[in-house]
Symmetry: D2
Subunit: 438 residues, 4 copies
């Protein structure tokens, strides 16, 4: 990963308008956060090679004239705890700190930015968002998939929008970038600021995303149910499918928090099913010795068992085959073939996890993201997303954030080391010799 110092953020021009926000203190433009923090023994530090993020925060001088600003908010992709906290935070900050009273909420994701889709935008006010943090989901609703940037910018122009806040993940950010490019092509000054939303916590260069803390806490409840079921019947197996298309952060953290998990299967860690050394053999050993087991599987794990048929969902993500029922069937068949009676209970809690309101940590965090998104927009920045690094809020160019995905590095991340220690699962569940994987 290579980036300039500080990672350069697009900007519409010089900030000359005194901020009306009335803060006690402001963040200096140019303040930086170092990317690297851990150094090997004896490693020499070359100041010229240190990489930085731009620090987020309110600027004393801003770009837009607040009294004339019209803002828009859109929420895209799957639900995630805390979306409403972000919406609320943006509205409150715009309204009370900057005096921006004209705020529109676009409904049903990017569909709402295409006039012909017919979803009328709604006016957002402090009153209308006041209690939104009590509800899960998005008060604006959402949808998957991108739309034509030309049509979206047409509508933004027609509505006179000066700044657009897009709350969404990888696909949404690509869409936001396409909007920003179209705006640039037309030489307009409409700020496009992303607030990163991914319940999987897998956005590159961003330490943590809102909703993740809530999500894995909810996941723990399902895991504990699986544990109770597993010990409640002879040779009980509790199998829980959790979110995690490309990274297993939720599964890994849920396993650590629950402490009742025996196997965690994640996309980052290849595993085989059959024959010596594979997962099923390890599970059999566990059942024979302890008579119950809890297995977590992230939805993106084991995709090698399915091949790629080229299918994509509306957001352009590769359509994953559902590993949950596949694994459930494989386990049942396997133990039948071994003449071992088991009682498998399969739990898929995904919708229940993602639809709850944000917990206290995420509520605070989502609010900070929202406020910093507003600061960035008011300062005329665009095509960027608000991030977090070393617990400091940052600005990250969208192009950098979507360049790759954050994953668990199973060969050096203490998180994975702790998962192995806590579960006692074999580090490698791959066939030791010629095996007959399907």
């Amino acid at each position: 990963m290579i980036f300039k110092e500080p990672a350069e953020i697009e900007c519409f021009g010089e900030c000359t308008v005194p901020s009306p926000a009335g803060y006690e203190f402001y963040t200096m433009e140019g303040s930086r956060v170092a990317y690297d923090a851990i150094f090997d023994p004896g490693e020499e530090i070359n100041p010229a090679e240190i990489r930085f993020f731009e620090q987020a925060g309110p600027r004393e001088k801003i770009f837009f004239e607040p009294s004339k600003v019209k803002a828009g908010i859109v929420t895209c992709g799957g639900l995630c705890p805390g979306i409403n906290d972000v919406i609320r935070g943006i509205v409150m900050e715009l309204h009370y700190r900057y005096g921006v009273k004209d705020i529109l909420g676009f409904r049903y994701g990017y569909q709402g930015l295409v006039k012909s889709c017919g979803h009328e935008p709604v006016k957002l006010t402090p009153h209308s968002v006041r209690d939104s943090m009590y509800y899960g989901g998005s008060i604006l609703s959402s949808s998957r998939g991108n739309q034509d940037p030309v049509k979206m910018v047409d509508y933004l122009v027609e509505l006179g929008i000066d700044m657009l806040f897009t709350i969404g993940g990888d696909g949404t950010l690509r869409g936001a970038s396409a909007i920003a490019e179209e705006i640039k092509k037309r030489n307009l000054k409409i700020s496009v600021i992303g607030v990163p939303k991914t319940i999987d916590n897998d956005i590159h260069l961003i330490e943590k995303t809102f909703g993740f803390s809530t999500a894995f806490a909810e996941a723990v409840k399902a895991v504990n149910s699986a544990y109770v079921e597993s010990v409640g019947a002879p040779n009980g197996i509790g199998l829980v499918k959790l979110m995690g298309r490309h990274s297993g952060f939720i599964a890994a953290n849920a396993a650590l928090a629950s402490r009742h998990v025996n196997f965690v299967l994640v996309p980052e860690n290849d595993f085989d099913l059959y024959s010596e050394g594979g997962f099923l053999e390890a599970l059999k050993q566990r059942i024979l010795s302890r008579h119950h087991a809890v297995v977590l599987v992230a939805e993106g794990a084991g995709q090698k068992f399915f091949g790629d048929d080229g299918q994509r969902d509306a957001s352009g993500n590769k359509k994953l085959v559902d590993i949950g029922p596949f694994l459930k069937d494989a386990i049942i068949e396997f133990f039948k073939s071994q003449n071992i009676e088991i009682n498998l209970k399969y739990i898929d809690p995904s919708y229940q996890i993602r639809s709850v309101p944000a917990n206290a940590d995420d509520a605070v965090f989502a609010n900070f993201l929202a406020q910093n998104a507003v600061h960035a927009a008011m300062a005329g920045k665009t095509n960027m997303v608000v991030g977090l690094w070393h617990n400091v809020f940052t600005h990250v160019p969208i192009s950098m954030a979507v360049a790759e995905r954050k994953i668990i590095k199973t060969d050096k991340d203490p998180l994975w080391r702790s998962v192995l220690a806590t579960t006692g699962q074999p580090a490698h569940m791959l066939c030791q010799k010629g095996c007959t994987e399907p």
Copy 2:
């Protein structure tokens, strides 16, 4: 329903041993609870026709000599919140009030009562059950299905058990009754006392079963998730399958508590799917007018769509076909055929619901059941189950309790009236004219 007054409870003989329980006051043998309470206008009451239950409670004189008693506890069938509270309550009452120190827990349901199954019983003490109420499930584990009463009584005799507490539902109670009959045949004096456990709350003549309050409160969480999902996407439909093999009490109460439900499909209420007047047409109207809907379906609803292939589970219950995925597919196909794009989210929270610890209400209730079960056993009663009627604890012969099931009477129960009022669903979703149900 016809029964003698008070419904006659089998008993081993006269109670002559002074109770060591040291209570401030006792319940008189012969104290009765009237079955009927509601009378039509002008209805005359004939005292000779009033039907009664025997009232439960500690007796001043008991049948067994406590110092010589050896007790056993077994938990059967599916998990349910509060099982551990009942176990704990029985152990504490036996130990501290009656001085019974010799208590065995049989593991894995009735399997544990068959010596050859090899599940060694565990000794239960106040210390070993002390914190059990913090955990869901059963500390004794459970299993489905009955076992040979001859083998079970053989083992009870071998172990010297004087009283057996069976915690379970319909099937378990039939099993308990078979054990009691076998004991009678051998002219033994082993008390068999049932504590009714059914998360569906469907045991005849018993007002309420433990775990039900907790269960529908948990169900509400899933329903609220379904609601959040339904409003979070264009034409969102949240479909939740809930427990309820023969009765829809959980679904009905969850709908009332959540207040976000548009359709409740229960076993007691026949419905068609296709053509005019059927469920799918009603759902379509809802989607077209409001663009989101929440549907609850109890697992035993709509079994007419599947026929009876004669399959039975280990407990002897007819194997229900899973209405959840069937209905999910039917809805998706239907809207596809209508060219209406929907976003259906299917939630099956059953294991998550039944595996949580009891809430405060159920904790108190389960404890009362446990104590009254002990009182009944000490008084030499047998082949009965502890019940509740007009909020008074009662003794009910097992034969009466299993004679039929409690269901929602959709033509006169205020519960169902309120469900219709709250959801706004049509009272009858049956084809109005010649229709093409599969």
Copy 3:
């Protein structure tokens, strides 16, 4: 307690208007619920002596012409979980079932019914109450104390109110009755229907009040905290003051649900502090033997230690002296005098208990109360309160409901028997011989 059968409910006249509610079935006027259900062995039942309540429910014919009805709602006294559920239920039932669109919410309790107080009533609509059940407290706010019935009726007349729903406890019901009497004096037809609210669950002739289930479940959390604190320090004592001015239902149920409580002090059970046989001696024995203890005290317990100085609160209730800090100081002083080091932690969770939203049980229950209150009002009944008896909703004349209070009968209630069994506390903590109570 003596009352006519069925307890006679005041009514404005014959019901001749066909109900527009469109229910599948209705409750017959004159349907009755028997008061007595438990009978002693051998007790003869004289049908002429059976006492009844009138059964609540929607009537097929009603008194008021719904399209002309204007309704008002007021919430009085202390907060309680579920108030908003009742408000919501009344508004929804009036609006959707009976077509009553004109509904006012009076703010700040009976103050809102006095025009000169200046609290403008607010219009209540399905939209405005839609999400109210998510919040604790009352969306109408509340206040303590009655107001002049003349002024209140003046305002009702000025506003054209036809039916007033008063949600409140003992004091509120007396106020409602005074309003009803004033209305009668003026020969008006304004229905006054009470929905009983008392977190203490102490209203006479009413089996259960909304919010109680939620309240004692919340209380259990505080009790469990007290337990954790008590075992977390040498000779730890956790002292929790709970609600319960005249009855100890919350404390008793919290003790049963928690199972960590050693002493429950309630208003119904006299106790002494000092000298042999008193509470402090019993507590000392517990500390010396087990080194930790949990004590619950209901706020109205031990008032004999304070005398009556004649003070009354705004609702006319005798001002209780706060037993909590008094007992805390007494315990600390006592152990100091005994040279025993203790660590006492005092917890007063009252506001935290009463301000949470209703749990699932209370949500369902509050909704039923609300619907039945509407049915009663539409049927032209007045000066009554909606009750529950043998799990059936009833009509109770206010005069009967306020005639006395429901308390725990410590000499025959199985609840108290179970408290003694569970805590192990002495049944009587009164000085055995000449003692020196202050």
Copy 4:
């Protein structure tokens, strides 16, 4: 703050024993974490001036021979969510990874390390700590105050302890350091490793302490209750006292998460009560304009109103006067003097907050702390505490950690900036002109 790079950790000697932990990968001795991460615009970075922490983690070579190791654990000071998670994590890591089977738990804090106090240590095994994370508090109990290091080391030597894990805050760490010094004086090799515990989250050089996330989430519940109470009565004021002896992190975060708070009073921010510009005047303005208010006060705020009478608690902390009741009385008196009727509800939830089990975040975090504490001890390090910096686990010399306290920097911390923005409270509530503060 000045420290060597990396902050030098005391160590008993070279690590020569191969670790039996069987980890997939290890942390290199000498791996470092940079202290500074944020740089001003244009600021030049001098590599020679960069300050570092030593990185925590399992070492490939360790100091102690695991099979001979005997370990001890002690928990001191006030309760905090997660203590049992730390105990459990230490026991599990020692037992399963390093094969250390001989582990003692000292009871009642440092009292348990003094033989003559008579608290027998308990043997800790995987079985005995297995479910400890379900309970709040400490399974070892705790106590305040230090003990004579000579006596404590005597007992450690007598028992043959090789490593002592002390879970506690500032005072406990000073005590641990005194023990380590005494050990050094005697030329013994007993490792003393601190796990920082402070619910206030105020330990210097340590980013986050376990239990804090849980604590402020619990605090939010109390704050929300205060809000419900404040809007539930005319001119309602909800006053909540929260933990925070020297720093207001809990109050600040609870305010941000709740979003219903109007004033946050913390130790770091001086304020006056009376006269123009003071707190009470600001509160009055709020009440007159909005008729309700929520006030949070950290226990250490406003100590200037009391002077220092020199009193210290058993842990050597200055005895704070209880600001809560003082402020409550001041507010009541003030509004009485202004002839404004208010309804103040005072909530002190401290014991309820600190006694709950750890939430999912804290569970994971506590476990990591525990594991890293074990790694450090096995590597022969001593007189240090496990920390966190830039989300990386670190080793911090106790002397550095106790040198000062972490506080909210009200002139540059974005946390405080956000509190001011969210509450709308004046940044400075000090008398503008001659005022009459007591």
